[in-house]
């Protein structure tokens, strides 16, 4: 979900300004609400694709927290990533209801198909593979989530088809839209 950078020498500086503006906007939106840190972090992750190191100091400053406090929160939650991931996030459910439906074989198939292990990104930067502990689709497992869409009764073959289809699709921007809508309503 990272926006393409121009690669020009000034990109770092303008990127920082843009990040500052994004965070400023998020802070303005959520500051009046009690406990605004998680919504702000979600907002940064949606717009940047991850939580860049520079964001930690900016958020800390805006909320009068220490960098350590913000870093501690970011590192606690599996959803927050401090490095950019692949264009698509593929989550395979590893929990019991999916295990009962041969989910362990699907876990292995996912790793074999993408040639990566958990939390890794494919060499072409297309997919990041993550475990997930339950998608709430437990009567029709095994289940996977590709970006914001959940798929049920997934087999190794249908997973392969899903991956191949996603390879030819543009990046999913549903998450981005959801956040901008939320900010508009805020």
């Amino acid at each position: 979900m990272t926006e393409p950078t121009s690669g020009a020498p000034s990109a770092a500086g303008s990127g920082h300004d843009r990040l500052r503006a994004t965070i400023g906007h998020l802070v303005d939106t959520y500051r009046a609400r009690p406990g605004p840190l998680l919504p702000i972090l979600h907002g940064v992750q949606h717009s940047e694709g991850h939580i860049p190191d520079a964001a930690i100091g900016l958020i800390a400053e805006a909320l009068t927290l220490t960098r350590a406090e913000v870093h501690g929160v970011v590192s606690f939650y599996p959803d927050f990533h401090t490095t950019p991931g692949g264009q698509h996030r593929l989550q395979i459910c590893r929990a019991e209801a999916c295990q009962a439906q041969d989910g362990r074989a699907l876990e292995q198939a996912a790793r074999d198909l993408l040639q990566v292990d958990w939390h890794q990104t494919t060499a072409d930067g297309r997919f990041t593979l993550e475990p997930v502990y339950c998608l709430g689709n437990c009567a029709t497992g095994p289940s996977v989530r590709l970006d914001d869409t959940v798929h049920g009764r997934v087999s190794a073959a249908s997973l392969q088809a899903l991956i191949e289809r996603a390879q030819h699709e543009p990046v999913n921007i549903q998450g981005l839209l959801a956040v901008s809508r939320e900010v508009d309503h805020g």
Binding site: P34, T140, R145
Partner: protein, 530 residues
Amino acid sequence: MAEVHTVYVPRDTTACSLGAEAIAQQLGRHLAMHSPDCRLVRNGSRGAFWLEPLLEVETEQGRLAYGPVTPEQLPDLLAAGLLAGTTEHPLYLGPVDDIPWLRRQQRLTFARAGVTDPLSIEDYRTHGGFVGLKKALSMTPQALVDEVKASGLRGRGGAAFPAGIKWQTVLDAPADNPGNPQSGRKFIVCNADEGDSGTFADRLVMEADPYMLIEGMIIAGLAVGADYGFIYLRSEYPLAHQVLQEAITRAEQAGWLGADMQGSGRDFQLEVRLGAGAYICGEETSLLDSLEGKRGMVRAKPPLPALKGAFGQPTVVNNVLTLAAVPWIIDQGGQAYANHGQGRSLGTMPFQLAGNIERGGLVELAFGPTLRELVEDFGGGTRSGRPMQAIQVGGPLGAYLPAAQWDTSLDYEAFAEAGAVLGHGGVVVFDDTVDMAQQARFAMEFCMVESCGKCTPCRIGSVRGVEVIDRIIADDNRAAQLDLLAELCDTMEFGSLCAMGGMTPNPVRSAVEHFPDAFGVTPESSAGAA
């Protein structure tokens, strides 16, 4: 037969995970070209997930059902006369209300699920929505709390604490808290961090009938004197998030939520807060820390959240299902709710049939039938067709039950007596190919991954648990390792701060006790069994 005027295609996560979105798109294009007068409604789901995608058409004989329909089968179904209510297609299931799996349920909380368009306030009101709230607006806080007490409603998140007593504590708690910016406030927090594998009832409430949850939260606010609510929703539920956001906006626009609700002079604001992938945040004190923007670490109790909860203020923390039961209770009366169930387990429980099951989905029943009746009569046994071997009830912290325990009655006390828990009502079925030693290992591994790390028995005990079980599996000094595992389970049970570490021994011990073969324990070598 006459052309039908309404077709229903569900849009809950499960239906969509099996192709409902593609069906709705195809059908939409077909209607635009051939039947412009026919309306396409995206209903919730009835929770009969084994029949999803379950299409329905409105006819003079009522709503007729077809399923499970794949996107590939839709053209054939249309050609056979779906839009004329054909009864001749192999996917035809009859009138939806006559499907035995649905008809034999006792749906109080899930009466509207799948019937209505989840986002239509008009539909909601036509089917009894907001009647409880209208009544509540004219009742005193104490009368509301008394009604919930009379219903016998207990927390549906797993701990089963009487909801009325919790509400009374918050109602009676002083909110003055000098120096706290939130002084004077009380909060309603809905725990929608439904992380237990095998459970999806909260999700179905939020996706299929979101106004019911909103209504329940407003009533809770009126009962205890809170004017602000949070729905703490897990991020694994993107569709529920979307539906809730939209429902809140619409409820505000229609004057059912926000300032001066229905001209009553009463206010209630509601906000959805998204979690970030941590299972432990389903534990109420971790949830509160997370809500406050901190790491989701478990808090020591006391103080009770009812007295010192969100942002240091008195707070009701209830599960989605607990709050969702409230509008019915206020509308029909606490006694009417208490007329269902048995003993101290009153009302209905939405059981969730999951895992290797032929007819999985949501089965709402009064407490009382046996586990066997549930998995056999409703569930129809395994999907693989092989014999059932173990059933895990109550999520990843619940025990694995062998066949000898399947005649246990589904109520809180009967399960406690059997050394098991009902929890949030998740029922995960495994067939005879399951390796119970791997399941026990996974229970420890899950605890290792999801522990918040605050207390040692949970943080370190789970790591050692995985290692010990690995050695048992590898037959490395097995008898001694089994003794060690039993001791480790005791340490975790008695020494952990919350249910995460405290209940992880449930699946582990039950697996060792009931399925000793899987651990290489033969009758001759059983000295070390837990």
